[in-house]
Amino acid sequence: MTEIALHGEHEHPSGIARWLFSTNHKDIGTLYLCFSLLMFFVGGCFALVVRAELFQPGLQFVSATTFTQMTTLHALVMIFGAIMPAFVGVANWMLPLMIGAPDMALPRLNNWSFWILPFAFLMLLSTWAMPGGPPTTGWTMYPPNSLQTGMAFPFVIFAIHLMGISSVMGAINVITTIVNMRAPGMTWGRLPLFVWTWLITAFLLIGAMPVLAGAVTMLLTDKYFGTSFFNAAGGGDPVMFQHVFWFFGHPEVYIMILPAFGIVSQIVPTFSRKPLFGYRSMVYAVAAIAGLSFIVWAHHMFTVGMPIAGELFFMYSTILIAVPTGVKVFNWVTTMWRGSLSFETPMLWALAFIVLFTIGGFSGLMLGLAPVDFQYQDTYFVVAHFHYVLVTGALFAIVAAVYYWLPKWTGHMYDERLGKIHFWISAIFVNVLFFPQHFLGLAGMPRRIPDYAPQYTEWNMISSIGAFVFGFAQLLFVYNIVRTARGHGAPAGARPWEGAHGLEWTLPSPPPYHSFTEPPVVDDAQAHT
C-alpha cells in the first residue's frame, strides 16, 4: 500500500485491480464512458422492441404489459445509465486536464460513485426475472398507478436511490475540484465553458437528486408502510407526487443538456478558428437557465387541474427559458460568423446539435403555452420534443465530445471517413425517426400506447425504419472507438486540432498518469477568451 502511494508514478495497479480500485480520473472516466456505451445499447434494444411493435397497428411481437415495461426501462436506462454517466465520464477525463490539476479532488469518492452504478443497474434490470416483471408505469412512476407494481417496485426504488447517491457524490467531487484545484491564472473569467457548465450542472444535481429520493421513498412507504402521501382516501393527494417528481425532473432535463452546451462551446470555436463569441453572456445564460429550471416544473402538469394563477405563472416562467437558450444559439452562430470553418467529424456533430436542438427548443416553446399544451400534453408531439433535446441534443454532444477528445484520450486519430459516414447516417435517420412523431402527436396519437388507430400507420412505419437504421449505425461508432483505442490510426500529437486552445492540448496524447504534476501557469492567450 505504502509502496504504491510512494511510487505511484511507476507502480500503479494493473489488470483487473487497475479498474476495480482505480482512483485515477482518466481510468474512472474510461469506466464511466464504457459503462454508458453499454447502457446506451441496452436502452437502445428496449427502444427497438418498442419501435418494432409500433411498426403497424395490432400487437405482433409483445404483449401490452411487456411493451409498457420496455418504455419504462428504456427511459430509466437511457437517462440514468447512458446520458448522465457519459457526461460524468467526459467530466472525469477533461476537468483536471482543462483546469490544470493532477487529478479529481476526491479520488476515492470518485471510485465509489462509479462502482455503485453497475450494481444499481444490475438490480434495475434484474426485475425482468421477477414475477410480474419491471414496472408498467413509465419512468415517471405516477401513483396510484405505480403502487400497483408487483415485486419489482422496491428494487426499482432502491436502484434509483443508488443512482442518486452516485450522482450526488460525483457532483460534490466536480464542485470541489473546480473550486480548489484550478492552476494559477485559471481565473473564473478564463474557465473553459465546459468547466463552467459542469460546475453549474453539479449544483443542479445536488439540488435535484435528493428530491427524487424523497419522492420515491414516499412511494415506498405508501405501498408498504401504510402512509397516505399520495392516497386521497387517507388525506393525501396523487398530484403532489407529480409536483415533487417534476421539481426534480425539470432540473434533471438541464442536468442532461448544460454539459452538452459546454461541449459545443468548446468545439465550435476550435473548428471556426475564432474565440467563442460572448463568453460572459454564455456563462450568464447557463446560470439563468439553471436558476429558471427550479421554477418551471409544473409545465409538465398543465392538465392536472391547477388554479389559473398557477397555470399563468408556470407558462410565463417556462417560455422565459427561451430567452437565455436563444442567447446561446445566437452566440454559437456568431462564433462561426467570419471564422475559418472546417468540418471534421466533431464539428459536424456540433453543428447538427445546434440545428436539431433548436428544433427541440421550438417545440418546447410551443409546449410552454398552456392552452395549446392542453392538446399537446402526453402525445407523440411531446415524445418528439424531448427526443430532439435528448438525442440530437445531449447524445449528439456526447458523440461530438468523444470524436473531439478521443485523439487526446488514446493518442491516435480515429478514422475520419468512418466518422463522417457515421455522422451522415445518424443525422439523416434520427430525423426520419423523430420528425414524424410531431405529426403523430398533432394528429392525436397519445404516448405510451402499444397499439394505435390505423390512421397513424404510415408515420409510425417511417419512424420505425428511422429507428432501426439509426440504432444499427451506432455500431460504426463502437467500431471506430475500439479501432482507435487499440492503436490504429495516425499518432495524434499533443494538439491534433489546428484551432484548439486550452490546457488539455498542452499535454501529450495520451496524457501522463497524473495529468499535471506541476501546475501550469495560465495566461490570456491560452484561455483564448
Partner: protein, 381 residues
C-alpha cells in the same frame, strides 16, 4: 372584443378546413392539429398556428445565418478568421427582441386560458369518471349514467397475435359501446374524477384534455357548434389497458338530445326493476359472461388464470370457491392497495350477481351456487 376575435377564429377555422379539404388523398398522412368544433378549440388552433409561424420565422433567421456562415466562411475557400468576440449591444438586442416576441405569444394565450376557466352557468353538468379501463358518464341530476367501454370488435382484434387486420375493424381502438351524447349549442360543464389511478380525458375536437384524478374533481366546459361524432382516447398512462379506453362524443341538436335523455331515463328505471325478480342460472351465467368479458378479463384473463405475480387467478381460487359472502364482499368492496376496485358503485345488482355466479361456475370452479340480484341488493345495506 369577444365578437371580433370570434370572427377571426371562425375565419381561420374556415381556412383550415378548406386546406384540409384540398388534400383528402393524404388523409392518412395526417400532419396537423384538428381545428375542432368549439370556440375554445378554434382559439387553441389559432394559437398553435401563431406559435408555429413564430418558430418558423426565427428558424429562417438562425438557420439562414448558419447556412451563410457554413457556405461563405469555409477554410477551404481561404476564409481568414476574424478575432472579434464580444458585443454588448448585440447581446442586449438578442435578449430584448425574443422577450418582445414572448409577450406577443403570452397575451393571447393568457386570454384564452382565462376564458377556458369560466365554467359558470352551464345548461348541463356531466360527471366523467375514469377507471381501469373504461369511462363512466353521469348526467348529474338526470338519473342517467352509463359505462363507455372499448367496442368488442376492437377488443378481439387487439389481442396479441389475434390474426385480425386492425384496418378491417371500423374505427379500430376508437369505437365504444356507448358514446357520450351531448347537445349542440348549449354550455356543458364537465367534471372529471377517477376511481383508481389517474386517467386523462382527451377530446381533440373540443380542444383539450383534463386529468381525472382519484379523490379530486377537475372541471372544464364546452359548447359544441355542430352535430357530429368525434373520437379521442385516454392520454395518461393508467396501466396496461391504457391504449384501450377510447372516448367517443356524439353531438346532436337540442330537441333530439332531450328525447334521447328521456328514453335513457326510462330504460335505466326498468333495468332497476329487473333486479327485483328471480333470475335463472342460465340468464345469470350469460349476463356474468358478458360483464366478465368487459371488465374482469383485463386483469384476471378470459381463462381465469390471471397474470402470475401481478393479477391473481380466479380458477381454483380459495376465495371464489369459498363462502358466497366472502366472494361478494371482494367484488363489491375491492381490495385496497391493489388494482381490485370496489365494484359496488360501478355495477348494477344484476351485473354483480351475474359475474359472481359466472366465476363460481366456470373453468375448474364447480360450486353450483347461484347468486340472485336480490342478494346483492341486500348486501348493499
Amino acid at each position: 372584443m369577444a365578437g371580433s376575435s370570434n370572427r377571426w377564429f371562425r375565419l381561420s377555422a374556415v381556412a383550415a378546413s378548406l386546406a384540409a379539404a384540398a388534400r383528402p388523398a393524404f388523409a392518412d398522412f395526417e400532419t396537423g392539429l384538428t381545428p375542432g368544433v368549439t370556440t375554445t378549440s378554434h382559439e387553441i388552433y389559432w394559437l398553435h398556428g401563431l406559435a408555429y409561424w413564430v418558430c418558423v420565422a426565427i428558424g429562417v433567421v438562425v438557420y439562414g445565418a448558419m447556412a451563410w456562415a457554413i457556405f461563405h466562411f469555409r477554410k477551404s475557400r481561404g476564409a481568414v478568421p476574424a478575432q472579434f468576440h464580444d458585443n454588448t449591444r448585440l447581446e442586449i438586442a438578442w435578449t430584448l427582441i425574443p422577450l418582445l416576441i414572448l409577450v406577443v405569444l403570452a397575451v393571447p394565450a393568457t386570454l384564452t386560458l382565462i376564458r377556458m376557466k369560466d365554467t359558470s352557468d352551464p345548461a348541463l353538468t356531466i360527471k366523467v369518471t375514469g377507471q381501469q379501463w373504461r369511462w363512466r358518464y353521469d348526467y348529474i341530476g338526470q338519473g342517467v349514467g352509463y359505462f363507455s367501454s372499448l367496442d368488442q370488435k376492437s377488443v378481439d382484434a387487439a389481442k396479441l397475435h389475434s390474426g385480425i387486420d386492425p384496418a378491417a375493424v371500423p374505427n379500430y381502438l376508437r369505437e365504444v359501446d356507448n358514446p357520450l351524447v351531448l347537445p349542440t349549442g348549449r354550455k356543458i360543464r364537465l367534471l372529471f374524477t377517477a376511481t383508481d389511478v389517474i386517467h386523462s380525458w382527451w377530446m381533440p375536437a373540443l380542444g383539450y384534455k383534463v386529468d381525472a384524478n382519484p379523490g379530486f374533481i377537475n372541471e372544464a366546459w364546452t359548447r359544441i357548434d355542430q352535430p357530429g361524432t368525434w373520437r379521442g382516447q385516454c392520454a395518461e398512462l393508467c396501466g396496461v389497458g391504457h391504449a384501450y379506453m377510447p372516448i367517443v362524443v356524439t353531438a346532436v341538436p337540442g330537441e333530439q338530445f332531450d328525447a334521447w335523455l328521456a328514453k335513457k331515463k326510462t330504460e335505466q328505471a326498468s333495468a332497476a326493476a329487473a333486479a327485483e325478480r328471480q333470475w335463472t342460472k342460465e340468464d345469470l351465467m350469460a349476463k356474468g359472461q358478458e360483464i366478465y368479458g368487459k371488465i374482469c378479463t383485463a386483469c384476471h384473463q378470459a381463462n381465469g388464470k390471471g397474470i402470475p405475480g401481478t393479477f391473481p387467478a380466479l380458477d381454483g381460487s380459495p376465495l371464489v370457491n369459498g363462502p358466497v359472502a366472502g366472494h361478494m364482499d371482494r367484488v363489491m368492496n375491492g381490495k385496497p392497495g391493489t388494482a381490485m376496485q370496489a365494484f359496488a358503485t360501478q355495477l348494477s345488482d344484476v351485473d354483480i350477481a351475474g359475474v359472481i355466479t359466472y366465476e363460481r361456475n366456470s373453468w375448474g370452479n364447480k360450486t353450483g351456487d347461484v347468486v340472485q340480484p336480490s342478494q346483492v341488493k341486500a348486501a348493499r345495506k
